[in-house]
Symmetry: C2
Subunit: 169 residues, 2 copies
């Protein structure tokens, strides 16, 4: 019995050391983690890469577009991202009803910054190609900013964006 | 001794079945693979997301920009991507000397399609923000197209792009 246990132990040690070895090798190679288009806002969602691409999909699939401006080194962006990614209802709405784009760099379209180029900010664009400046967050000085505590308002705004400005294009 | 061997065997079976189980679970969830910015053109390279972002990095880091237009459902794009990704010298040059952007959707900058919006095509942009229409591939009807057999010319063109139009900006 003792022999048996020892063998199990040795086998486990062997397996563990092999695993540890492969991990070390991985670290040694210093491979970069491939960048994702989601950038952490929902790995399971389909993201457009550019604004032009997103507009094309919004129009051709007749879905509203949601544009999220953020920065990797902005703690407010990071906090919002965390809340956004873990909110199952937001993720479901986004997946089923929206064309999605998250950007760490501004576009040249001034309609996407009605009150400035701050981050984080979320803009909705109607499939008729109209930026929905009427759909805003709770802050008067930065109308398109949201905080993690504003997820309910964001969900409501997503529902509003689903009601198009023009039903026929 | 027999008992010992049996125990090792059982331990390995246990470990294997745990691994198989976790694999099954992963398949069962049918998770989408997160989209990468590299889209297979070099997972270890740093890719800009948009043309605006790429231009900004080219200017601020004083590096030439390489823009690859391609499509997922285009066999010529796929073949070129494969050759591009496995060419170690191209990957090294790209990593060390270029700002990189691959796009599946056209931009609004007409300088990026000097002779049409076909795929695949590769354009170089000088850090002075000038599209290098003079750096072209071997085909007269589609000047910025490359085939997998043209990797040597592409390497040479990358070397040419490293010589800036203006040494001072």
């Amino acid at each position: 019995m003792f022999k048996g246990l020892l063998s199990v132990f040795l086998a486990l040690v062997a397996v563990t050391s092999i695993m540890a070895k492969s991990e070390k090798t991985a670290v040694k190679q210093e491979k970069r983690v491939p960048q994702t288009l989601s950038r952490g806002w929902g790995d399971q969602l389909i993201w457009a890469q550019t604004y032009e691409e997103a507009l094309f999909w919004a129009r051709s699939r007749n879905k509203p577009l949601m544009v999220i401006f953020h920065l990797d080194d902005c703690p407010h962006s990071q906090a919002l991202k965390k809340a956004f990614a873990k909110d199952k209802e937001i993720q479901r709405l986004a997946d089923e009803h929206f064309i999605l784009l998250n950007l760490v760099y501004e576009t040249t379209d001034k309609h996407l910054f009605p009150d400035g180029q701050y981050v984080p900010r979320i803009l909705f664009v109607d499939p008729s190609m109209t930026v929905r400046a009427d759909i805003s967050g709770p802050y008067s000085n930065r109308k398109y900013a949201y905080e993690p505590s504003d997820m309910k308002l964001l969900r409501n705004n997503m529902e509003r964006a689903k009601t198009f400005l023009k039903t026929e294009l």
